[in-house]
Point group: C2
Chain length 232, copies 2
DNA sequence: TCCATTTCGAGAGCACCGCTCTCGAAGAAG
DNA sequence: CTTCTTCGAGAGCGGTGCTCTCGAAATGGA
């Protein structure tokens, strides 16, 4: 492990600064990030940016990766901060953390979960960070089921689908009955839908008590999954 | 009611043709619609388009309005086509119609439910068409509750939120217990999330049986709402 | 029928965009 | 001290949304 040269450190600093300025532009101007505007803000000419990012999409990818990790960190630390035996509280904490991060970073959320940019194809190294939030949620189910605190639902998943859901569970390394995993995925889908509706301004214009609405809907999904209600 | 002049008819035809070409471009090139490309396809110069649409956003708004109406038509006719007494079947038909339309028109779906275009603010005349799909869904609940075939859920919505949800119900002219309406909104949120995940390519890469997955998840929400299972 | 008015397409032009290429200055390495 | 690498500046290409002007054509009243 040799110490990075001065040039390498300066270069890393430049990359960080470009990303920081780009993130600021993203927050104010929305999703259509302008490389030239970022360069102007840094006192550079636009072509100089290409010394650090081969294209605008690569800069976007870097921002997406960082956003996924920031969201994943927020959700995971929120889940880890509460009593691990209290499944309902863990579910609440994880969902609330996801919503809080999204409300605090709406442009980055849109980058992650909005409509895909036309020409842009997410590279493969984004899938692992992207799975962290849903993995946290199903991890709560895994822990609960392993501890016997979470009962599998009454219904069974019919066969063409059952094997696939089971395979998905194996892929995610969560040992869950397919019907339970399917309900967990319903919870994740619901969480995404709730945040998207709130951020993209659909229904909630008429619902000023957004926190209470979110909590109520999250509780409904926790009921559907069968998470035991918190004691107290 | 005077017959429209020749010039007016030609103008209306031009507007329709521009929208048709724009819709085609939307389907192939994605969300970033180029006015110049549309003009080129019509053998016109770009500035001529401005005789018919004052800006690119206005053309987008026209496309959005038509898309909302097309989706609303699809959902409403699917709901109306089945036995009105079979609530579960109506729920299924409406949700499947929404998904089918979305899969057939992914770019237009992204226009409606994707991340909002940065500078674009949806005008007020889009809210009524936008409410048609969720109104169809809660209409199923309204009919079921009025007919006594749908029981209100056991839980009660706590007070700061209860009044707001009730007010929302009054605004939508659906007479439902707040807790039941909240569950209906959960179903609508879930439907949006399911379609978005499938279209924007998130989880379902590992789930080839998408139809079965969708049906299973929709059924889960129908269970949560309390829709009676179809006889047979 | 003639003429004033309106409509509309073409063209040039402005500022902006992503991206490529070349060139010269400056630092790193030998 | 010299060679090589790195990097910013600048010009330029084709694209975008949008504005303005001009001339042709259609409309409609006298």
């Amino acid at each position: 492990m040799v110490a990075p040269s001065l040039r390498a450190r300066v270069r890393a600093g430049m990359i960080d600064e470009i990303k920081a300025v780009a993130r600021r532009h993203l927050a104010t101007d929305g999703a259509n990030l302008s490389l030239r505007a970022v360069a102007r803000d840094m006192g550079m000419v636009s072509s100089a940016i290409y010394r650090y990012f081969p294209s605008r999409d690569d800069l976007l990818t870097a921002l997406i990766l960082e956003a996924y990790d920031a969201l994943g960190d927020a959700v995971e630390t929120a889940d880890a901060a509460v009593d691990q035996a209290d499944l309902r509280e863990r579910w609440h904490a994880a969902c609330r953390a996801a919503r809080a991060w999204s409300l605090a970073h709406p442009a980055e959320y849109a980058l992650l979960y909005g409509s895909p940019v036309p020409g842009y194809a997410a590279p493969d190294d984004t899938v692992a960070p992207a799975q962290r939030p849903p993995l946290t949620l199903v991890g709560i189910l895994r822990d609960g089921f392993a501890a016997g605190r979470l009962q599998p639902p009454a219904e069974e998943v019919p066969e063409p689908l059952r094997a696939e859901v089971a395979e998905l569970g194996a892929l995610l390394s969560v040992d869950l009955p397919p019907a339970l995993l399917a309900r967990g995925m319903a919870g994740w889908t619901q969480l995404f839908g709730l945040i998207s509706f709130e951020l993209f301004g659909r229904i909630n214009r008429t619902l000023p008590h957004r926190d209470e609405y979110f909590d109520h809907q999250i509780n409904l999904m926790a009921d559907l999954i069968g998470l035991p209600r918190s004691a107290g």
